[in-house]
Assembly symmetry: C2
Homo-oligomer: 337 residues x 2
């Protein structure tokens, strides 16, 4: 019972018209008489005509598709970002093609080609953890394809970028701990290749410096996964002079840190305080609720998409100045400090 969807030609033949007339009629082109338009539209509805965007896309090279290149659809951050992007993309009548690089440089390169091959009109990207060479991105930009980076960005690249102001958010988080009389503050950071990790670490350092607390390398651990964070946090807590506060720079590391604290049975925040970067629904799953910086995934998604559409809508000849947008990550105080 395979039945192909109706095409312009089908409508044209039924009505004894040419497909070009049908095409124009359906988009209310003024060249076509009102009578013909009505006739065509009625027939189109009757045949349940769905215009083939693939064909249209081939012709005018506009696919109405935006590509999203993400490292991983993890549970914590990306869903918020996608939600934000999707909202804007839908508003503009576009669709979203999502590809994961799975933190692999090769897949990232491959995925960029896939997006190009699919005639996407713009790309929103976050860089894989293992990527150190960024020429593939630069090539795409040189092709004139609008591109916006979020979260994990490429330095010295000639396009828009949306970020959390990580350094100052981290500064605020650590300052908050200090205001609660904490002096022995540990940080659980991520893969130090990532700008995010470095920036958050820098915010941590400058907060310490600002309040005259000495930076202690023993209090710095770097972890990519909860298990690693748990293990290394336990090591921290077993130091002769253990920290009295921990700053976890992501939801994933936070999970490990809290498991470690739970396992040692330490009361929070009495024996140890905790702050983290953590999305809203997750803060309150811990006991006590975590004092956290909002990573603002939703806003990052929305902003990236809006900036991308600004680039798409303007003439391809105009090459707007690359913009860097910093969003403020607000600190929300919970019971953990």
């Amino acid at each position: 019972m395979k039945r192909n969807p109706a095409t312009l030609k089908d409508i044209a033949e039924k009505l004894g018209l040419n497909k070009s007339t049908v095409s124009r009629a359906l988009k209310d082109h003024p060249d076509v008489s009102q009578k013909t338009r009505d006739m065509v539209k009625r027939m189109a509805k009757k045949l349940h005509y769905v215009p083939n965007t693939v064909a249209a896309s081939l012709r005018h090279k506009k696919s109405k598709v935006i590509g999203l290149l993400a490292p991983q659809i993890s549970h914590f951050f990306l869903p918020s970002v996608i939600e934000g992007i999707e909202e804007v993309v839908h508003k503009y009548g576009y669709n979203l093609l999502i590809l994961q690089s799975k933190e692999s440089y090769e897949r990232e390169v491959e995925n960029l080609d896939i997006l190009i091959a699919n005639n996407v009109e713009g790309i929103i990207a976050s860089v894989s953890r293992t990527t150190t060479d960024f020429t593939h991105f630069q090539q795409v930009i040189n092709m004139g394809l609008p591109m916006v980076f979020y979260d994990r960005v490429v330095q010295d690249i000639n396009t828009d970028v949306v970020l959390l102001d990580d350094t100052s958010a981290a500064f605020d988080a650590v300052s908050h701990l200090i205001s609660k009389q904490r002096k022995k503050i540990a940080i659980c950071t991520g893969n130090i290749n990532l700008l995010i990790s470095r920036n958050r670490l820098n915010g941590y350092k400058s907060a310490l410096k600002n309040y005259g607390i000495e930076y202690n390398e023993d209090y710095v651990i770097s972890c990519e996964w909860p298990e690693e964070a748990k293990r290394k946090t336990i090591d921290l807590l077993e130091l002769p002079d253990p920290p009295d506060a921990i700053f976890a720079i992501s939801d994933l590391t936070l999970s490990g840190v809290m498991q470690a604290i739970y396992s040692k049975g330490l009361p929070v925040p009495n024996d140890i305080s905790v702050v983290a970067f953590c999305e809203e629904p997750f803060r309150s799953m811990y006991n006590p609720v975590i004092t956290a910086i909002q990573p603002k995934g939703l806003e990052i998604g929305k902003t990236s998409a809006e900036m991308l559409f600004q680039r798409i809508k303007i003439s391809p000849f105009a090459d707007p100045e690359p913009r860097v947008v910093y969003l403020d990550g607000q600190l929300i105080v919970g019971g953990s400090t």
Copy 2:
């Protein structure tokens, strides 16, 4: 500096060949001599040729794209499903176009047309909460487009379906509580319009019955959001004869339940035990780690995709028997029981 990507014609002209020859050379068609193939491939690499899948798609009506129609990209369940689907889709060399219906019937219908317009080769769908008329799905199936439903399924429709065996998983969860000497077991269920909620409630009831425990309506609350769950759970805990165990049927309700328990300061599992349907990374964010049924989002995603590809790969004339696959939601014991 707008530069369009190289096409077959570009390569052909540079080499004094015809584009058809170039096309065949690139796919190692035996009609083309080895020498020509090498020459073409070298030139293709040099020009960074990326085949335009849109054009190919138009020709042979294979877009290498699968459509995913989901109600909402929430944090808890869908990311796992997407991850699973993506893995399989990538394995087959396909891509994923994701659309959200946002629980709206109109958007669901619209999204189906978008998927068709994009020549998707198959659709994986979960039905919106507000959809009561399913003819749009049936139309798509009649067009011969392979389709698989997961999680929220359409009854009496002529295609494959992937589900968790909710009833028996809920039965197991409650039986586990009973085996831990719990007799006053409350349930925090979801929107009772959803089959899922009803099935999990039924599993709960039959477990009680099976062990001769009387069903008590005071112990049944129905909640859609964490706040609601928290409020109603507090009411439960303040009953003259409060429950000694709670069964939360989703991550969202679990979050509210735990907040309530935390706020009352009740020791878990001593005063109150907790089981829930909860994805892996979230169980261990609670203290103690929650005993939970795995909703198996990843497996549901993988299975749906695999079943879809089975339908895609077989001849379109063969119309395989619709299959219903139930996945077992395994109970993983944590410290909460």
